[in-house]
Symmetry: D2
Subunit: 274 residues, 4 copies
């Protein structure tokens, strides 16, 4: 692939070292990390309960959306600054670094004050204004692959961020759109292996959006790590059936705890094996 | 489809009248309109030559991009404000209303001063911040369907604009991504017929991006009108092989002139037939 | 495209004349033809009623399936030889030539005795044993594009039939699978225009399977002809809601009669225009 | 999913035991199996060399095609019965059970005499005549998912085979068609996890066709097993660049030997972990 001047695994025919991206002290790229939390921040109680649960189960970071990109203008759009304040409080309580999505270039700099990493969402992958601002945000960026985007386009979006001066990009595969309807999207794990052979950046997977089915989250998490992934981002909600967005695919705290036990034991043997 | 409160063809079980969207005096929705011009504004000479050619061939409006959403950060990104000044001059010379894409919500209001209509591009279809600003822009909006977007998502994006107070939305089908590689995208003309049965908004087609092949632009233009489309947007470049973007799919002025002759004769018999 | 030795529009750099395929006296390729009838032959009464209705409305040929490729082994699989006898009787009553699908290479030669043309269905497009038998069937073949097949693969399947000695192939676009769910498939009309520029064979469209929605059949039929199509194949059932297969997309005889009126008037002006 | 009477993991609300399918003494479903060999049987020397190499590296079965479904009628179509005789000889030499594809229902019974298991290929997944014959073949069947087929359609094809009396079906995910072009297909590992939760049948993966890239075969093999897969089928050719089909994606014997070392060590830790 051409034009991946800063993102490519090689420069002038020589390999670059693999990057580690530090988020609030967690070195993504060194060992499998787990980012967990609710789809959207809905209230302090809901977020705090989720944060304490994911911390207790062993997650390394908290996710939660204060700005929600929604199909309909009449759907819950997120709590905005109030959501960010809740996330800040959750970080103080749990010590977990916080990742949140930003959807407007005007919000990048002030949102960056509240959180440890910023997410560029799948619908906005090729929002080039946003990418450029994220390249100047001074905080790590989690770059989700668009549901319609080729691997080449995805890596070029990382290049947009790096070319503005921000080297701290984590790629995230979250499923692409196909004809299949049993799963919400089709998770393309070969994109993880491909991104690892083409770039020096860490790559994680989002099995929640990738599958849309709680029962498939564990097997696809194991598979994502086996394919070379550097971590996972998983939705957890204290009360999925009452969630204001994406409730049907979130794990409960109890399910997440069981998930983390199996995942950690798998990570243990995988780490010993490598 | 739920939640299309302002966009749906019916309200409370009663049909709404079909909308006409006036762009610089051209009533889109009344008769088939043709918007033509270069992909990107590259220079005054190139744009003026294209504008005069499309005017001479009978186009109703001029298109041209001052801000280009490009896969790579190192590709030509458009001339920005200089491009808008060139478009303004082209309008003065030819009298053609001008449509241009805007890709950043911060640019909506000042760009709207220069042009007659604003385009939301396919990659940005679900850039909700941009949609909301376009809903307050005071100028008509050409809303392209995302290459990955369902008809339902597309119509909900129109609803975002209408719900902010701007009733002047024109929908544009420009091809979706599939496995087919002979054409650049797969033009989904059933989306035109569907959008006409579901909404009161005008719907046009972009056979240039839809096919990526000059030889297919005419047949797909005729087909789009036969499917109920209200117009076409076509790329014309004085020198396609030297274009800074998308040159291989643009028509030359000579090809466009022939195209317009056949198209107009078809429109003539179609109009008489209806 | 390579290897289309007999199918390509050119041979040794020189154009071939466009082919006309005669089916029971109807010259497909000379004027727009309409093939209509039920998805499956369910009974003599149902088929005869449909045949008389489509004849009365002006269809040129009768379609009807005696062998139904069905997702589930427990779904109605067609009446087999009894269905063929019913089709034969319908031809005697109405004078309409008959087209039916064959799904097993062992059936090609005896089924060909009953009908005027044989159909290779979308699911079987790359059933190469069947293609080879159809190449030796001595009857015209209607070759549907696979729902997953590129234009290049489709034309190569025509080449399989021609290379076995049967020049009488009609191509049929019937929609491809995409992420869109509003329509049953996504009808790719650019494939019609493409097949017409790449080959000398007639090309028709199937808006019934292409859209899966009765309301979209007329606009997509007009569009298919405007794109250069040589005809249409449409499902008509006397009682769609009781159909044993695909009932929700069939037209009733009354709807088909109205459809034919509009279609014929459109064909009239189109023919005069060309 | 309805209608999976014999294939579903549950019957009358009670779980069925997972099936083991014995192929020439190898119990597929008990431990991860590896099937390897050339895409096509091209000559005795080529097949024997491949067979000895894959045996030496630790594969459990030999694959090789005597009948090749090819896009063009002018491409290498396989050696037919001569190919089967070569496969038989390779089995005698190595002791490896042999799997081969059959593409015509007329061939099922006599081909079954030569080999240990029969493959239904992706292009023929919904060739229902062939499925029914395979249901009466008296030999295990490897059922590849169509490149365009939903999980539900795939499992219904298994049901076709089981409903004819053959319980010995192994499902095989081999990648689906999407817009992505970096990989030949998009391997859908969630289909493996889904098939394991929906059916009692063993499920294996084909990373060769799934990715089309030798460098991605190992990571996707590990991922397929982590997702719950029961084995792998991999193409190996003594001289890939001279292969008559699919050469650019086959592993060399040397590459395969390295692959098996890593794979077996992974299987070792995975087995201990479970």
């Amino acid at each position: 692939m051409k034009n991946l001047r800063l993102t490519a695994i090689e420069v002038d025919g020589k390999p670059r070292p693999r990057s580690t991206v530090h988020i609030g002290g967690i070195p993504v790229g060194q060992f499998p990390v787990v980012i967990a939390g609710p789809c959207g921040v809905e209230s302090e109680a809901q977020t705090m309960e989720a944060a304490i649960a994911v911390k207790g189960a062993g997650a390394h970071m908290l996710r939660g959306g204060a700005f929600k990109p929604r199909t309909s203008p009449y759907a819950f759009q997120g709590l905005g600054v109030k959501g960010l304040q809740i996330l800040e409080k959750a970080r103080q309580e749990t010590g977990l670094p916080v990742v949140t999505e930003v959807i407007d270039p005007r919000d990048v700099h002030w949102v960056a004050e509240y959180v440890d990493a910023l997410q560029e969402g799948a619908r906005n992958m090729q929002n080039f204004s946003l990418l450029k601002e994220l390249g100047r945000a001074g905080k790590p960026v989690l770059l989700k692959r668009g549901m319609h985007s080729t691997i080449e386009e995805w890596l070029n979006c990382a290049e947009y961020i790096l070319s503005e001066g921000n080297p701290d990009v984590i790629l995230c595969e979250r499923g692409i759109r196909t004809f299949e309807t049993y799963t919400r999207n089709t998770m393309d794990l070969s994109a993880i292996a491909a991104a690892k052979e083409l770039t020096h950046l860490p790559v994680i997977a989002d099995p929640t959006h990738g599958t849309g089915r709680p029962s498939l989250i564990l097997p696809m998490s194991l598979a994502a790590l086996a394919a070379g992934g550097d971590g996972l981002i998983v939705e957890v909600h204290p009360n999925p059936e009452k969630a204001l967005s994406d409730g049907d695919q979130a794990l409960t705290p109890g399910q997440f705890s069981q998930y983390m036990q199996k995942l950690n034991s798998f990570i243990g043997v995988m780490t010993a094996w490598k």
